[in-house]
């Protein structure tokens, strides 16, 4: 069975809500039924086959080709299966995903992996603001799973994050790890201002010395036993995080945010 492939026919003027096209919702549908599903496009509804040519039948393996930044909610609440995207994606990629895998060869917009529960999400390019965060007004961001971003990410990555890993090969914008409750964010590149703003618990693992707020306290240099285990868990990823040379266990530890409960930590490679 070949992958169920949606190839975008033309660039729509308005944004498209892609949330119906997830593996668990398509698995029992015939191709004709899938073609007849409607997608919200701006204020109109369009049939899937008006926007996409459809090939293949394996709904556990969805491929979206010619994707562009107007396709929102790709992989929304995904429960099992794999979605591969060729091209950029819009906002809310993998929103609330419960399990499975999403891989994007391109860039992702705002709120990628927002309120993600479990699973694996990979973006080869950059991701926008609020990666793995909570929706505005909500208190619970990403709750589990792993996000790998090979490029840079915007502001507020991991806002209100509860558990899981966000791995960023590039740079992170301002307020990275803000209001984190727990979990791990690793940034190989540079970080912006207000790192870990109001974080309660959780770990920010950095390759480069950040600009830290006054509410982070230096706890000294340490060799931490959990780091080799953490790095070992990355070894199957298609990433520089899997590279043995990237691993380290000697860090400078800063505790914070002391203006919150102060059980969080920023660990900087030594």
């Amino acid at each position: 069975m070949s992958a169920l492939t949606f190839t975008l026919k033309y660039a729509p003027d308005q944004r498209v809500d892609m949330s119906p096209l997830v593996c668990h919702q398509l698995k029992d549908l015939a191709v004709a039924d899938i073609a007849a599903l409607s997608l919200q496009n701006g204020k109109r509804k369009l049939r899937v086959d008006e926007l996409f040519t459809i090939d293949g039948t394996d709904a556990q393996n969805i491929v979206i080709k010619n994707s562009m930044a107007k396709l929102d909610f790709i992989g929304k609440e995904l429960e099992g299966g794999c979605i591969s995207v060729e091209g950029d994606v819009g906002a809310y990629l993998g929103f609330g995903m419960k399990s499975g895998e999403i891989k994007v060869v391109g860039n992702a917009g705002l709120y990628a992996a927002c309120e993600m529960k479990k699973g694996y999400l990979e973006v080869s390019g950059n991701a926008g603001d609020f990666l793995g965060a909570a929706l505005p007004g909500n208190k619970m961001g990403m709750k589990g799973g792993t996000i790998l971003i090979k490029g840079n990410v915007g502001e507020r990555a991991g806002d209100h994050m509860r558990r899981g890993n966000i791995l960023i090969e590039g740079n992170a914008g301002d307020y990275c790890g803000s209001r984190m409750t727990a979990g791990t964010i690793a940034v190989m590149g540079q970080t912006g201002r207000y790192l870990g703003y109001a974080m309660r618990r959780g770990t920010l693992l950095l390759w480069n010395q950040p600009q830290l707020s006054a509410s982070f306290n230096d706890c000294g240099a340490h060799t931490l036993a959990f780091l080799p285990i953490l790095f070992a868990s990355f070894k199957k990823l298609n990433s520089r995080f899997a590279d043995k040379a990237s691993a380290f266990n000697r860090v400078q530890r800063y505790a914070g945010d002391m203006s919150e409960m102060g059980r969080g930590e920023v660990l900087v490679k030594l």
Partner: protein, 298 residues
Amino acid sequence: MIINGVTIDATFAEAFPMKATRAIITAQNEKWAMIAAQAMTGFATSVIACGCEAGIERTLSPDETPDGRPGVSIMIFAMGGKGLAKQLETRAGQCVLTSPTSALFAGIDGGIRIPLGKNLRYFGDGFQIAKVISGKRYWRIPVMDGEFLAEATTGQMDAVGGGNFLVLAESQPQALAACEAAIETMRKISNVIMPFPGGVVRSGSKVGSKYTTLNASTNDAFCPTLKGVTKTDLSPEIESVMEIVIDGLTKEDIAKVMRVGIQAVCDLGADNGIKRISAGNYGGKLGPFHFHLQEIMA
């Protein structure tokens, strides 16, 4: 059956069901991993009064341990799951948490999960940090030498305790030498421990006693000094008997280790004063697992 002049009795070792768990202790080097492991498995020879039976299974090279440091795997056996969990926790808390540079990991994935570091975390007084890595929860507990890392839980499984055989020799030194040879080969096998001091027990017991408060007492049928006063199992030339007791995860594990142990004893043979191999057979009173010596050695 006679092997190298040693008579293998037509009897069976009687074993009973237990609950078992395994933990992996790592440290900066093997010396300190072993120190923590020895402390954790101390005073754990027999469930009769120790609450559990514990022992070191084997040492682990750095590439076999979760954190890439030298380690030791230990196993603990108890009569019930509750008692096992309590023993594991108190021993982990007093013997591994306290031991310099140590870390503690689960040795059994799956099975019923019982707390390893799950409650020890409270030692951290609120400064403890949980990390879930690849689906496993670890606790980082701040201690004076750095951080004590402990996996939250380990697995408990059904196991078999009390596999055994008796070495009957013409003298005490010969019995001990044979047992030492047996233990050396038996220690190479996984999934089993020999919980008694050095793996050998000289005070084998029978079920029950003339004293109603005791549920075990000396195995008088195998006491050489009582040959004339009790219904003895010993022939006149036997002057010393020692026993090797084995706890294992499955009855196959125990049968396998009994075979190599008995073989090692028989290799010394009658020339070294070894006359007979027998076993602790309690007439079915002790447990449902029966290891027939002659079948094992066939």
